[in-house]
Amino acid sequence: HLTTSLPLPSERDHLRPRIDLIVFMIDIKSKYSLKNVEASLAHLDASFFLGKVCFLVTGVGRVNFCSVEMNAIWKLGEAYCSPVLFCELELEGIRIATAQRLLRMLQICAGHIPGVSALSFGTLMRNTADD
């Protein structure tokens, strides 16, 4: 399900399946996209932040066009206890690899991988990022 902001329109509540993973996409070239994500985060129920949220920063290939500070992104990840992934959508290889990563995370968050919970995985991701 794609959307440009939260909260989701209530008209479609009955059509929506259970939500297992929320990926907030931030375009590093657009301050507007960061603002949008920050505004949407406020609408999200706290229970999602136990491993079911991640931030995906796109557009990192074009260094000259970075508008969003890396500090702001790290702070966001810390504040919401969620992992931050980076990718460049314009390169097919990276796009596919990122999609595979997200799919793996989704499998964990949906409970399809026995022995690994969303929370434990999220903690694992955050601990390795700190190294």
Partner: protein, 345 residues
């Protein structure tokens, strides 16, 4: 043939892309077909230009004929120059029919009466456009053929498009000559500039697609349904997307936008801050210049909201550009009780 003319022709030919040279020379018509057949247009441009100069030497070209070639080049590659728009005004009704010969005579006479050394060329095109090429000199120097001004005048309209040379001092002379020759009273520069002459014409002649205040029924299915990418993707915010599309269409219309490269906003407004900050103790307007530039400004503005990079509706300061026929603005404080800002001419 004069050395300077030879050099001028050589340099003009060098400007033309190699594949276009033959066609442009044919259009020029100064060299005969037989002469053009003798030139190898596949060699390097340097050699082509030498061959062409040689042939022009045989035909004894003078500067006026060389200027015609320059005009043809600038007509096709008008986007290499920056064009400004001027509007002429008359007192009262115009009952005179436009006479081209009369216009040309008056223009030359007026210009030459102020400045002896000028080269003036005229060329008329099918769309009622009169192109004028002027090379400026001084009382002591011959006209500089490399610093030329171009004027495009549509006789059925009060608009003149001018691509001036560096010599700003010649502008008043040029404007005077235009006003006198066309039987107008006054001329003023509009705040509209671009590299695309055709786009400027579209804007002032109102030929771009405007947003009419008509009722838009639900869009026809064939037009609006994008090919369904994947049924597994669900768009939660379709109504928001549609709202953005509607607002964008209302602001910009459906068709292609005129091509402008800049929009410039000169701010002369008061700096508004927390009174305790006391940043500026002098109550002077804060001077600031905001410039938007893009290879195609209006198309990029049109795509901002649909691409999720800005809120819709966009600021009217941006969307009013074609309607107001200007891309240079001055924003001043609104005088009165309410603080704010307004656009001034």
């Amino acid at each position: 043939m004069d050395e300077t003319v030879a050099e001028y022709i050589r340099r003009t030919v060098l400007k033309i892309p190699r594949d276009e040279i033959k066609a442009m020379l044919q259009k020029w018509g100064f060299l005969s077909e037989e002469q053009l057949e003798t030139v190898n247009f596949h060699q390097i441009k340097d050699n082509i230009s030498q061959d062409v100069v040689q042939l022009c030497e045989e035909n004894s070209a003078d500067i006026k004929q060389a200027a015609v070639l320059d005009m043809i080049y600038n007509h096709i590659y008008s986007n290499k120059r920056t064009w400004s728009v001027y509007q002429m005004s008359k007192r009262g009704e115009d009952t005179e029919v436009f006479d081209l010969t009369d216009f040309k005579k008056k223009f030359k006479r007026r210009l030459r009466s102020d400045l002896k050394n000028v080269t003036i060329n005229f060329k008329e095109y099918e769309d009622n456009a009169i192109w004028i090429r002027i090379a400026w000199g001084t009382p002591y120097k011959k006209p500089n053929q490399y610093k030329t001004s171009y004027v495009v005048y549509h006789s059925q309209t009060p608009y003149v498009f001018i691509s001036a040379s560096v010599l700003k001092s010649n502008m008043p002379l040029l404007c005077q000559a235009l006003v006198v020759a066309s039987n107008y009273h006054d001329i003023r520069e509009m705040e509209l500039r671009s590299h695309s002459l055709n786009s400027l014409k579209d804007i002032v002649f109102k030929k771009y697609s405007q947003n009419f205040q008509s009722y838009y029924p639900r869009p026809l299915q064939e037009r609006n349904v994008a090919p369904e990418t994947d049924l597994r993707i669900v768009e939660e915010n379709r109504s928001e997307k549609e709202r953005i599309q509607r607002l964008t269409r209302e602001a910009f219309g459906d068709g292609p936008q005129p091509k402008l490269e800049f929009a410039q906003y000169k701010l002369e407004t008061m700096f508004k801050s927390d009174p305790t900050m006391d940043v500026l103790d002098k109550k002077e307007p804060f001077r600031c210049l905001v410039k938007f530039s893009s290879p195609h400004l209006l198309e990029s503005l049109k795509s901002l909201a649909p691409m999720g990079m800005a809120d819709a509706p966009l600021s009217p300061l941006l969307t009013c550009i074609p309607q107001k026929a200007r891309n240079y603005f001055k924003i001043r404080e609104k005088k009165g009780l309410l603080p704010g800002s307004f656009l001034s001419p």
